[in-house]
Amino acid sequence: MFEPLYDAFFFIMQPSNLLGMLIGTIIGIIFGAIPGLTGGIAIVLIIPFTYGVSPLAALAVIAGLHNGSSYGGAVPAVLLGIPGHSGAICTTFDGHPMAQQGFALRALKIAAVSSAFGGVISALCLMFMAPPLAEVSLAFGPAEIFWLCVFGLSSIAVLISDDPIKGLLASCFGIIVSLVGIDAATGYARYNFGFIELTEKFHLAVIMVGMYAISMSWDMAQTGKTTDIDASLKAIKTKKDHMRDWPWRSIWGGWARSIPLGVLVGILPGVGGSVAGFIAYNEAKRASKDPDSFGKGNPVGVAIAESANNADNAAVMIPALTLGIPGSGVAALIMGGLMVHGLQPGPDLFLESPDIVFGFMWALLITSVMLFPVGGVIATRIFAKILNLPPTMLLIIITSFCFIGIYAIGNSMFNVYITLAFGFIGYAFRHLNFPIAPAVLGLVLGEKAEYNFNTAMNLGLGNPMALVDSTISIVIACLIALVLLRPLFGYARNKWWVRASEDD
């Protein structure tokens, strides 16, 4: 039964494939670390270069890009508070405060180890549990995915933000932005205000770069500071961070919670990607004995965010390889890479090309392991040098990189102008204390929520009870109610405590 896996291991360990994995990982980390450039763009750019090589070598490079870019987004998230991609948003919550407190090296290493561990577990799930996990993914229909989207939006808005009202408003903003463009169901152009360019949906990177990187650069221009990170620089240069000093018990507990969630979210078609990190972070915070420490430099927050983010890397390939349904946009690109090399994703792929399929799974595992030496040791020190730059030059370089990243999406100056516009909006968000993360998640999940809502209602012939027709739907809906009522419970409990102590 495991013979194809065993045979594929020897294929993937050939020097050319190992080199491909290493190169892919390094390029992936670089792409992930630059706001606007994502693993998806790297994969699209690399595919033409792989025409002349064997399919397995090409997939080895792609596996490196996929895992490397997932970790790479953590580097600017920790050092600058700018997520390199949407999956690293949760890493900013605790990673950047850690850096501000002088623990940048620890945060980056925890991110690398967590990414590596999450990626390894995910690859093992892909290798040994792909068929049964694919069955689980089939249990999630449109109603279940709709509730999952609402759960993600409400929990991030309420649990992450200091102000639930502003968090929910930010989510509403993100959802409305996600609806700009042609409605896939009716073909009607929504909120384009007569501009033909607005008939296309906004690309996530365009919004993220504007709201995070551009707005942050304007703050740096005013303050002349790289977010008080000088103490952290010294820590990277002179102080060694010892892994034995890490809060291992809490980190292991965090991984135990976040990695299965990351794998589970990753296997759901169309939901994977950045959502895994949000849901895992929310759940960990909710279940923690010290939830208030999250968002203030808790290393477990970094561990959870990065492990969940990377745990869905291989998991998104489960429905892609077994059912031919990509779990995320990047999985769709990887499927495209397979098809370019004459391989048709689906159940037959395991029978027709087992050495390539299982070789790809090994590549995902090996590149996850590579993340620690390449990402945690080498990349950390290289990227930390960036902070030696004066803040003025750093913000100029960041904004220049942003242009490249955004222009690469469709070679469109319109996207560049939209990024600038969202820079103004992001600046307003920052200075009016509106959290940006719920807005980004609204952008990710808004259209998905609407599509699945409409599909569920159509399948139920317009009967709203179709939305709560399964146990999974009811459970998720109850969780949403609990999350939304939590602030009220907290307020009532505090009032009761005050009254009780006054009576005493």
């Binding site: 509403c172 009607y188 904004t399 070679n411 009016l432």
Partner: protein, 152 residues
């Protein structure tokens, strides 16, 4: 430093106004395209009303202190205008040409006066971008109209 008082009150009113306008705009959508956005916009209007009311009625929100909206006005304006011009011009004259102008100019106007550092950083950055993104990765960037005149 300018501190914007009552910013929740003002922000809430603005959000309510924008949501209401969008909701009216949404009335022209076909029912299947308009149902979901209308629901979201109504939610936004309700939340913004709650935000406005609590900023008036509740002591905690009434007396809340805010970070200044503008920390250093002139530098903010320079950064915003500089970036806007850079993005606009890069599309016309080419990315590398625009970057060679943008980096030293913005550094100078933001008060950074180490000219050797500026020159070195600009050179290293432009070379790195050219070699990695343009030459190695063959990424498309706006056409270099001025450099083309010199045969580059």
């Amino acid at each position: 430093m300018r501190i914007l008082k009552h910013q929740d009150f003002i922000a809430g009113l603005c959000i309510f106004g924008i949501s209401l306008n969008l909701w009216v705009y949404t009335l022209d959508f076909p029912s299947s395209s308009g149902a979901f956005p209308k629901g979201i916009l109504i939610t936004a209007m309700v939340l913004s009303v709650i935000m406005v009311l609590r900023s008036i009625a509740l002591k905690k929100w009434r007396e809340q202190e805010f970070e200044p909206f503008v920390i250093h006005g002139p530098k903010l304006l320079i950064a915003m205008i500089g970036l806007t011009l850079y993005f606009a011009v890069a599309g016309y004259i080419g990315y590398f040409t625009a970057t060679i102008i943008y980096m030293p100019a913005l550094a100078y106007f933001l008060g950074f006066r180490d000219y050797k550092y500026i020159a070195l950083t600009t050179l290293v950055y432009v070379l790195f971008s050219y070699l990695v993104f343009f030459h190695l990765m063959s990424m498309d960037l706006p056409e270099e109209k001025i450099l083309k005149l010199f045969g580059i």
